[in-house]
Amino acid sequence: MEKQITQQGQLRIALRNCGMLDPENIAESIARDAYQALGKVLKELSPQECINILKQSGLRGRGGAGFPTGLKWEIASKSQSDQKYVVCNADEGDPGAFMDRSILEGDPHSVLEAMAICGYCIGADKGLIYIRAEYPLAIKRLRIAIDQAMEDGLLGKNILGSGFNFEIKLRYGAGAFVCGEETALIHSMEGKRGEPTNKPPFPATSGFMKKPTNVNNVETFANIAPIILKGPDWFSSIGTKNSKGTKVFALAGKINNVGLIEVPMGTSLREIIYEIGGGIKEDKKFKAVQTGGPSGGCLTEKHLDTPIDYENLIEAGSMMGSGGMIVMDENDCMVSVAKFYLDFIVGESCGKCTPCRVGNKRLYEILEKITQGKGVMKDLEKLKNLSYIIKDTALCGLGQTSPNPVLSTLENFYDEYYEHVVEKKCRAGHCKNLFHYVINEELCVGCAACKRCCPVHAITGDKRMPHYIDSNICIRCGECIEKCSFDAISIQLEPKILV
């Protein structure tokens, strides 16, 4: 597999201007080539020529599924209609991903310019940015950028004397993860409940207000201008066979250098975590990295040297998603992590289709049962079967990928599930019903500090005599451990004695 890694590993294309310029001052953007690509396209290229450049470049959607961008534009350009729309999906929803916010806050003109190029290519004169209301700063900077670009004639009527018109408006999300899905996003922009509908029809033929609509995400748009200016061959020389260019990842979790990075496709997890990310926090043992958000899965040690691209991640049971990477260490319980994601999905499911509405709720309940130490082996079977059926039958991308965290943890961390179910043990010491606090009689001096702070009076003992914690009463709040000055209280992972 061909790879082109720059000396330090990172190569910034989408993030080229982030941290380089003042996003609230268009002059700084212009000084760094903003709108040059738009000018070139309008003056020198036909829409189809421009689409061909994108097709040659091999750019694929950075929002998750990785659909070839040039092809997407071409389909929209071929739809016949009096009105078409360009939509920028800035409803960055994957928890742990923040590249879209960073691009919009740091380099809004890269997105505006690319939307205008897209408008020219598909024959649209209106653009809409669907942005999360939770991003007030990004909204503010986008508004400033749009105003400044309008004032300079880089958006609006007769752009750069070409006769091409393009205007951009903002639509706000309102806290619904499912609106990251194209059809749901479109319904939301139309003032409706953000429920997805069956595809086809695809937005490219019938989207916003039933008109052909091209939806791309922020990072995808941020890649457009450099491809136009530097050429498709330059872009396709970066990355792997089927995944060209770079990908922005948001490194978070138990990693030293939390931050935003951009690396060529094909970079390995090891390089990302240990070289760029500076290794695991407090030198703990690496356990897993979660990619692709709630739709993705966990990659483990055995995947550390896999070159990251769309296909390899899917093969490994995860997906590219928007590029969140959350690093987990030995203190993270993988059953609980799966439960965390299911909790998220249950809260964010739109409720339209049965498998997602009821199925995910049932998955969550089984996981909860397991983390409470009430699981039986049959539950693991049930988890797996139900997960496959949800994947097979759910209506939209959110539902079809929602069991991925369960399946990938089941696949990679089966022994942890087994321990929870059979040995009633949580090796990470995370599941409250599966560990208990004990007082070391030799270290305890009977100061009663723990007894006084216990909110449920689970601790008994006479003064200056070793104390005792009743596990059946204890709620595992951990107050006593903090209060004990003699390190006499510790966590015991062995199953508690059931009374």
């Binding site: 960055e92 929803g93 994957d94 928890p95 742990g96 991903a97 923040f98 879209d100 916010r101 960073s102 209301a133 939770e134 991003y135 007030p136 700063l137 503010k140 639509r171 706000y172 999300g173 309102a174 806290g175 619904a176 993860f177 939301s188 922009m189 139309e190 003032g191 409706k192 409940r193 953000g194 207000m209 948001a250 978070a252 979790g253 138990k254 939390v258 931050g259 935003l260 979660q290 958000g293 969140g324 959350i326 987990m328 993270d332 992590v337 965390f340 994601y341 998220f344 964010e348 739109c350």
Partner: protein, 194 residues
């Protein structure tokens, strides 16, 4: 869900929504005239376009603080859509609230990065400190707690927001300190606009 009425002094009188055209639905609503006019103005600024419902709801919630049933009725009337539709939309999106939030709404990020860095503990501490649960407001109307999915400040995990101000790398011990900033009537500490 029990939609609440506006506070007492708002209920100046019962006014009817002025019927601009013939197919207007007359709705009698317990809201002050000023508030009705504010809502009408917001709707008009979006040309009473039903497509803009979500933007209208945002703007109205920003102005009034929350979206009680009466307010939704007026919006439905102006945009010529059913109030069931408006309510369906309001309850779909977690950003919209039908109960007033506190003067200092606190949102705890429950994104994955924050989760693995102990957001649950922060939330527990907040609940303990304020003696209220998620989605609730303190009796003095000062604080309310809600959970947010990722705010995209994962580098600072765990994160909480008071209004629009983001606090990063919060430890359970910090919770009290942060709350104290707002407990005293310290004008300087009011939510900074980004």
């Amino acid at each position: 869900m029990v939609p609440k009425l506006m506070c007492d002094d708002d209920m100046v009188d019962i006014y009817s929504v002025p019927s601009g055209d013939k197919d207007s639905l007359k709705v009698t609503i317990k809201l002050s005239k000023e508030k009705i006019e504010t809502i009408n103005r917001i709707c008009a600024s979006f040309e009473n376009n039903p497509e803009e419902l979500i933007n209208v709801l945002h703007e109205t919630q920003n102005t009034l603080g929350y979206l009680p049933a009466e307010v939704q009725e007026i919006i439905a009337h102006n945009l010529k859509i059913s109030s069931a539709h408006v309510y369906g939309v309001v309850t779909f999106y977690s950003y919209f609230t039908m109960v007033p939030k506190g003067d200092y709404p606190i949102s705890v990020c429950m994104g994955t990065a924050c989760y693995v860095r102990g957001a649950e503990k922060i939330l527990e501490e907040l609940k303990k400190e304020l003696k209220i649960g998620i989605g609730e407001t303190t009796p003095d109307q000062r604080f309310s707690i809600s959970c947010l999915r990722c705010v995209g400040a994962c580098g600072l995990a765990p994160v909480l927001m008071v209004g629009e101000k983001v606090y990063g790398s919060v430890s359970p011990d910090d919770v009290k300190k942060i709350l104290n900033e707002y407990r005293e009537d310290n004008e300087d500490c009011k939510c900074q606009q980004l």
